[in-house]
């Protein structure tokens, strides 16, 4: 019930964040996660960042996901 995507935060300004999802960029809201900042990774649902993660940890999570997921 909760489709989500993981991306890298490129920039945050005035509560709006630009997130890069493997080459596709989208502007989303950081209203639910004011701690969002450039360089962190974001979990995005319905156009909102709902959680953030440090890059090192996030890369491991992404690798885990990709091990059994194609698309």
């Amino acid at each position: 019930m909760c489709l989500s995507s993981v991306g890298k935060i490129i920039s945050v300004k005035n509560g709006r964040a630009l997130v890069d999802f493997n080459g596709v960029r989208k502007e989303v809201s950081a209203a639910l996660k004011p701690q969002a900042k450039k360089g962190l990774y974001a979990l995005v649902h319905a156009g909102f960042i709902i959680e953030i993660m440090a890059a090192k940890e996030a890369k491991k999570t992404i690798a885990d996901i990709n091990e059994t997921q194609n698309f």
């Binding site: 019930m1 979990l43 319905a46 091990e67 059994t68 997921q69």
Partner: protein, 363 residues
Amino acid sequence: MKRKIFNSQRPATEAAAQRPFLSPSALRGEGRANSRNLPLNIMEVCGTHTNAIAKSGLKTLLAGRINFISGPGCPVCVSAQSDIDNMLALALKPGVITATFGDMLRVPGAKMSLKDAQTAGADVRIIYSPLQAVDIAQKNPNKKIIFLAVGFETTAPAAAAAVLAARKLKLKNFYVYTALKRVAPAVELILKEKNNIDGFLLPGNVSVITGLKEFDFISEKYAKPAAAAGFSAKEILAALAKLGKPKTQNAYAWVKAGGNKTALRLTAKVFTPAAGSWRGFGKIEQSALELKEEFAAFDAKKVFKIRAQKERKTKCRCALILKGKIPPQKCPYFARVCTPQKPLGPCMVSQEGACAAAYNNMG
């Protein structure tokens, strides 16, 4: 079968074949409240899990070991018929732009779906974020924009943010019809009744918002194991491996203790829990999120004077399926009368519905 031409690299298959993530103890059923032989009955609460388990092939891979039971975590599937009929009535009003997530478009109401309404001339627009609905309201001051808020705790904060944005912009033409729900009360209802569920896969993103405490009751009150899971096969397997002793655990890297406090705060600012009407479950206390009184001007139910309706009886057996009492295949209409082309109810319409998943992966 000649394989030479294929350059297929399948390290994942070899890894999965060794099944490192399914702990022997979980498979032997140790620590379960009632000891029985395999297969274990695991309820995946979340519709996105239902979809992922089917599409990845996990369901087939674990057949005989794990019997996956789809739970009520498909917000489209559990939408009450009255809610759907109300949404349609609003969509057909002149001067209304209905902003909805794509998931709701084909759900059948009494006479038609939102898609049919669109064909009949209603202005129905698909949005990806609730903020787009606010944007549409700003750009169309002469129209009434009604955002259909359907979802669980993951989506509620986004809807709350949209209402607050609309208030900040002093919009007078933005309304929300809320069919937002809380997952835990429905899960508790299932546990209260007689069931043969051995463990639960918890919705990952709901847990991100609420924190795991929301689901502690599963192990503490009902002595069943539960684990929050991500949505890839590996993450789901990791969660399954944790199901042994009756504990509520986390296997989803994104869940933080305490959940997302900002999201919870915004939700509580805009919405208040109230009795909810669930397809198949009837009324569940504290299970729906309604707009607070101070946001009455944005409440489509109040502004358009929606009257409480009696639930229309339909043939649909979604009720039993959502509770995990019968699998889709045991519904007399499944695949015979009720198909994705001609669905009798939302379990067959929604991409995540148990019936749709079963039908689409049928041999």
